[in-house]
């Protein structure tokens, strides 16, 4: 897989557009400058967590003797499930925690940015992709794009509005469905060839 393909997949799974409304509602009590600082800090923490799982994934999956075909088939299924969640989102309750407190690590860094979907996918890709540098670079590109979008979140929301953001999230979900099916097909071919 090419660097661009991995980076795009990660970017879609990080789902920055879907996270924008949640970030805004969680940070609405802070002044804009403070908001930017908090967003950047949380994203750096998320990056550290993702890089950590990148290394962990390789260890755990080789310990379990997971073969290439399995990674592709299961990865396709998992990506498909994630994309379904993006196309048909459930109601999220951002006001479950006290909004007056400054959010630290939970819930912005984990699980909104470095959530189970991205961590699981990173682990799978890390096992499949031999080149560690490529993985790290892909993570970094996807992360940088997400960071830019999230730092611009209040501006984007003003221009695009909530509805466009939701529509964009769904569109990203649809694109991910294609990536998922492609991965699944590759898995079938790998399994049959053996």
């Amino acid at each position: 897989m090419s660097l661009a393909q991995i980076a795009v997949t990660f970017f879609l799974i990080m789902d920055p557009l879907g996270n924008i409304p949640l970030f805004i509602s969680l940070l609405k009590d802070f002044e804009p400058k403070r908001q930017q600082i908090i967003i950047f800090r949380e994203l750096v923490i998320a990056l550290a967590v993702i890089i950590f799982f990148n290394f962990l994934g390789n260890e755990i999956l080789s310990l379990l003797h997971i073969t290439q075909a399995t990674v592709q088939l299961a990865g396709g299924i998992i990506l498909f499930l994630i994309s379904l969640q993006m196309i048909f989102p459930k109601h999220q309750h951002p006001h479950a925690i006290n909004p007056k407190e400054e959010p630290f690590i939970v819930p912005l860094a984990i699980p909104l940015v470095a959530g189970p979907s991205i961590l699981g996918t990173v682990m799978i890709y890390a096992h499949q992709e031999e080149d560690n540098l490529k993985m790290t670079a892909a993570i970094f590109i996807a992360w940088a794009a997400s960071t830019i979008l999230l730092l611009l979140s209040s501006w984007l929301k003003k221009i695009l509005g909530d509805r466009v953001l939701i529509a964009a999230e769904r569109l990203m979900g649809l694109i991910m469905t294609i990536l998922a099916v492609d991965m699944f097909n590759n898995g079938i071919v790998t399994f049959l060839k053996r």
């Binding site: 755990i60 379990l64 299961a74 299924i77 479950a96 819930p107 399994f191």
Partner: protein, 235 residues
Amino acid sequence: MGAILLLLMFPINKKSDDCDRIRLCCPIHHRESPVTIASIAFTLFLIMNSLGMAPAILVLLKHFDEKKQRKIILREMLIALLIIFLFNYLGEIFFQWLQVGETTIQMAGGLILFLIAINMIFPRSKKHETSEANVDPFIVPIATPLIAGPSLLATVMFYAHEEPSVLKMLLAILIAWAASTIVLLSAPFLKKIIGERGLNAFERLMGLILTLIAVQMFLEGLSGFLSHSLAQPKT
């Protein structure tokens, strides 16, 4: 924990070409299992889902002070361990009696694990309410079904039948159990650090990894089935 798992996986996974050839003509005998203690233990640990259970157990025990909580958790975990051991033993006899083939076990096991994983990825709203929260919960609901629930017991039965070495199974169960116990004993502390949302996120992540294990198991069953049924006409 990780270091112990890594140490355990080394001695038991040597299979040569010879072994593979033998395995094709008589798949049940002379078979060296490719499954290591570490991978069984890891799978069982994921299914025990101690991180996902932690919030529910804390709610059940909120009326007790911390020392008593720890005592109850330890007692319930010991009972759960006994139940798991019993089903481990039962599984071997039961499937032998039903004459279920190896490939069936792998394919059905893979499907069941997959369903368990999906359940962890999309958890249904957990009902925390209990009738009498003040009563010391004995056996039900913590030991069974929260820890030694249907998914874990069925998986243990499957593995027990597939795995010829009893000692290996017992060790794997013990390792997974010990890790889960440590997680549950530190549950109040974990909840303070990562919060309920963090615990839910970890539950989903473990579900995703379990999906991989499930698909792997299913594929092994499928390729065993294919090569077995293709080899049949020649013999």
